[in-house]
Symmetry: C2
Subunit: 330 residues, 2 copies
């Protein structure tokens, strides 16, 4: 039995290229005791994988490695006492269309009330990132103003809506008019800024939030963040979820100095790893699901079909190809 797999064959310098990935085929071993034969149904592609390729996010990805990301798979054959054929399991898995695994770090998906893909999007680590990072780092209070960059993306789209549920004013920054319409009309953000058609983001922010910004939920970094951070109020909180604008920069990128602003405005700037909140995923997922069921939370997914499309879907993240979570369906 053969398995297709995708390997990292060049360490991307700057923007990842299709040639950095190689599709191979391999004969699978026979299943042995304690193993599972899995058939992935959805595989998640995420910006953090670019960080993993620079060693900044576990598991680090090196040249020659088969890429690993989160996925949902069906158990085709089980030789493991905790899993049975037909189970759906979720966890980190290699980019293979068929794989042998032990059961470590795999969770059986018990709750099947929601669409399968949602467990990798709004109910997965991206939705949970929005929930925990906004709550625990951003600590928004009713009536405060939140700006979200990458606001139509997997994390930003959820973070902004949670901000609205907390009674905040929420402004989203996005990269197209379609995305601006999406976050205003479907996600009920108070306002949207298309950074690609806005010459002076700072001036627009001055108009949209003359009261200043209390929480900045940042997914992009770069010039957009410079503009937002200069408008922070005293004791503002900057949740640094990602800096996708910077991931593909060569070393040595410069920008306005932040530390003087940190002093002048008593700012908090913090990064996080969603797995640090692992013990509380249950709590976060229950709240997000409740909001989905009662209609107070919307989400969108960009689903690309075909195992071979994984590298292209991943690269698409850096070209703004997705609204909501980008997933690949086998």
């Amino acid at each position: 039995m053969k398995s297709k797999l995708i390997r990292l064959v060049n360490m991307p310098s700057g923007m990842p290229q299709i040639d950095d990935f190689l599709l191979e085929e391999e004969e699978l071993q026979s299943i042995t005791d304690g193993q599972l034969l899995l058939k992935p149904l959805f595989i998640s592609v995420d910006p953090y994988l670019r960080v993993a390729m620079s060693g900044g996010h576990p598991p680090a990805l090196n040249v020659g490695d088969i890429i690993i990301s989160r996925g949902i798979a069906a158990v085709v054959t089980s030789a493991h006492k905790d899993f049975k054929t037909g189970d759906l399991v979720m966890g980190y898995m290699e980019w293979r269309d068929l794989l042998l695994r032990d059961g470590a770090d795999l969770v059986v998906l018990e709750d099947k009330n929601m669409p399968l893909s949602s467990y990798l999007s709004v109910l997965g680590t991206t939705g949970l990132s929005a929930y925990f990072a906004l709550n625990e780092i951003g600590k928004p209070k009713k009536g405060e103003t939140i700006v979200v960059s990458g606001a139509a993306g997997a994390v930003g789209s959820i973070a902004g809506q949670i901000g609205k549920l907390f009674g905040c004013k929420v402004i989203g920054i996005v990269g197209s008019d379609d995305k601006a319409d999406f976050i205003k009309n479907e996600l009920r953000f108070d306002a949207a800024i298309n950074y690609k058609t806005t010459a002076d983001i700072g001036a627009v922010l001055d108009k949209l939030c003359p009261e200043g910004i209390d929480v900045y939920f940042d997914n992009v970094g770069g010039n957009i963040s410079d503009a937002v951070i200069s408008k922070m109020n005293d004791y503002g909180r900057i949740v640094v979820c990602g800096t996708i604008a910077d991931y593909n920069d060569e070393k040595g990128a410069v920008g306005p100095r932040l530390l003087p602003l940190v002093v002048y405005k008593k700012l908090l700037i913090q990064g996080f790893l969603i797995s640090d909140y692992k013990e509380r995923f249950h709590e976060g997922r229950a709240q997000l699901k409740q909001w989905l069921i009662d209609g107070s939370l919307n989400y969108r997914e960009t689903i690309v079909k075909g195992f071979e499309q994984l590298p292209a879907a991943f690269i698409g993240l850096f070209n703004g190809k997705n609204e909501g979570k980008m997933l690949v369906e086998m």
Copy 2:
């Protein structure tokens, strides 16, 4: 009766100059009910005053204002029921050699066991800044590595010693060999770096702390902080107490981007205002005093004599003229 006073007559652009200050003389009004006639004994000069001149630290200082900073004064005459002649009081006061005040925000110095000046240095807001910011933001754990910039200064010299008391390895960055000797020999820092004679601070840090840096207690900002921050460990905490290197920069200074590092290393960067810990000053002062009494904490003061020297002493802060707290004695 006449009072000398010092007024800000130009908003400094860049480094403050002697000409930005004007010494005047004024006839004092007669004391009225509820007032105190105070004779300052020590007045504190602090880098944050430069920030106040840019509106970034309360109370903001504008052109024409008499400078205000913390001081200790003797009550010459009291027409206020809560104060009596001969009391020593501490609080924010105008730069005058004799002044009329109501009693608001003045505290009678009850504890006179320690040298008077120490209540404006190690037992004052600079010592308390070291104590609370290191504890509450830096959260050092035994065995961790702390780097302190401005390590011979009023706050840094105390922060580094507290780090040692917590069982950390502490490296200080200073601006002269004398200061390096001071922090190593008198303050028991593990190592000192004289940034003025060190071409590559990063390389020296690599040698001194190959295990990386867990807490950076920053008083200076600028290039020194760039070098330190690039060596932070995952989940490192950066306490931004001050960025004296940046205070006199014209707007538009640039440096390496920090947000990617915040993401990659899950860093925390936080500023603070010591008055936010006001309710806990008693606790902090008691601990600092205990350490002074049992000999585990040393401190130094740079005391300039003469009311007229206030502007020069203030400017001296930006030229590294002080070891420990800079104070002016009347």
